[in-house]
Amino acid sequence: VTTLDFDDLVQPGRVHRRIYTDPAVHELEMERVFGGTWIYLCHDSQIADRGDFVNVRVGRRPVIVSRLADGGIAAVLNRCTHRGTTLTVEASGCAKRFMCPYHGWTFEPDGRLVGVPYPQNYADLDRERLGLGRLTVAEHRGFWFGTLARDPIPFDTWLGSARGPMDEIIDRHPGGAITVLPTPMTIEFAGNWKLSWDNAADGLHATFAHRSYNGLGRSTGIDTVLQRDPASTPMYARVLEHGHVVVDQRPGIPAGPWSTMRAMPLAEGLESDLRNNAGAGSSSLLDLATGSMLNLSLFPSLLFVGNQLMVVESVAVDRTRLRLYLTVPADAPAEVTMLRLRVDEDFASFGNSDDFAMFERIQDGLGIPEMPWIDMSRGLGSPTDRVDPDTGGVTGPITSEAAQRSYLAEWRRLMEAGA
């Protein structure tokens, strides 16, 4: 494969290593995937008040997302239209305007250019044309997305039937009210960004890659959510539109999410409090302290995992940055939040670390040019994967690689559409 021939790169049941290793492919992804579809920006709670902003990335592009006076939001490219300086380097804050520190050009949060020092030096300054680049934004229940595409697929169409599981994740919180805590875990690994997508809906790796995490559970008599026989568990993965996928682990844990957790630091008393004070509702509150067991992946940038929002940013063809934001219920007993603080960091220590070790080993292995193919054929054509005759969507056991094939089909669509 010497040119970008997508028939060669993405085949039924296998893909070429080049899509993980070739800097030229990566450059195109930044333009056509991260610049061509809806990318997660932030949650309402992070920019609650007028002037609040967060500094995020759309692919590698720095983007400022601000709360406007009318209650809406604006997402603008964090790049002065004069010489290209980023306007802010703060991760978040509150700003009435953004003034470029280099020559003093000043912009409203919605991107309008409102200040240029020494304007008399310009023969014809077109302020309108020199506003900041602005993304089209859309939201679902407080979760904001943006796109740079000139003619984007309608947001509602893009989200499609992923809306259902997303609502389930939101509605398990009383009143559907969620707060995103301010500081994400920001962790990089030396591997291609798509490795995190290959992993997200992969139920088979849990048995092997997470043996150490499962061993910790077993040491205290607990079966972690990952400690299930992938061949027999009723957990399933359902492929949705546009590369999205949901993995429903709930059928495999009839005793509920809380039953999968080892005792967490400072948790026993909080658990007792909830059991004593919440009565019949205590079980659901303890489950609320744990993850939803509904892992939803919205291609290409957002994964709902546990109670964290995992945001995928690509740094280079062989380097990826994940930001893990912890969500807490805005209207539940304080014990639930206190428990969540300790619950979600547990997998980050003992689970994510082994995932990253796998990703880096894969990236190393994919450097071998004589071995160009990655196999993704599990479940393909198998009676274990059921194809919906109406939508074409596949529902299969968590061992199926239908999810990987599905997001790569969307990846291919975007890469070809951009051409």
């Binding site: 875990m185 920001t186 940055r321 880096e360």
Partner: protein, 189 residues
């Protein structure tokens, strides 16, 4: 309405942990008489970690103790996500996990070198010793070497049963790069 007992107790534990950092804010409070003991204790702990003597390291700790790796300085542990906040049980589990042959992220064997400096100490009338120090941690599993730096905040209590005469009640590791971007800080103990 009184807050439930356990919730109040957890809040108090977090308040106390946070106070171990916050007490160093503002005016210098180093007690010159404490520096020798403080320096000896934090260097001893660093050596056990670098030697991989994790069983002996666990023995340094009080049964009712907390170790905390916040994501950012100045934030109360009840108000934001942390990288970890361990009690004695999860600290022991962390050590067991690090020794597990199935923890792929710990293989090949990790080598670390800690350099401790700028040690300050302060005794309190209640038999506590607070120590603030700067650290640099170099870590090698596979190339490249990872570098970590920041401040350590220790709180020790007198304990006649301990080999050092002290037990560790709090340890907080403030690593500035975690607020921006870093590789997985699983080895920062």
């Amino acid at each position: 309405v009184n807050e439930p007992t356990a919730l109040a107790a957890v809040r108090a534990a977090y308040d106390s942990l946070f106070a171990t950092v916050r007490m160093w804010n503002g005016a210098p409070r180093c007690d010159p008489a404490a520096i020798g003991t403080a320096s000896s204790l934090v260097h001893h702990e660093a050596r056990l970690l670098d030697d991989g003597a994790l069983g002996e390291w666990l023995a340094l700790w009080h049964v009712d103790s907390l170790s905390w790796l916040p994501l950012r300085a100045g934030v109360h542990p009840a108000d934001d996500q942390s990288f970890y906040l361990d009690d004695a049980r999860r600290r022991r589990e962390r050590v067991d996990w690090m020794r597990s042959p199935d923890a792929w992220s710990q293989s090949p064997e990790v080598r670390t070198v800690r350099t401790i400096g700028s040690v300050e100490g302060r005794f309190t009338g209640q038999g506590d010793l607070y120590v603030r120090s700067a650290f640099h941690l170099a870590e090698l599993r596979l190339p490249p070497v990872r570098q970590w730096f920041g401040h350590l905040y220790h709180r020790f209590v007198l304990d006649a049963t301990s080999a050092t005469g002290w037990l560790l009640v709090h340890k907080i590791i403030v690593v500035p790069q975690l607020a921006q971007t870093a590789e997985h800080p699983g080895l920062v103990l």
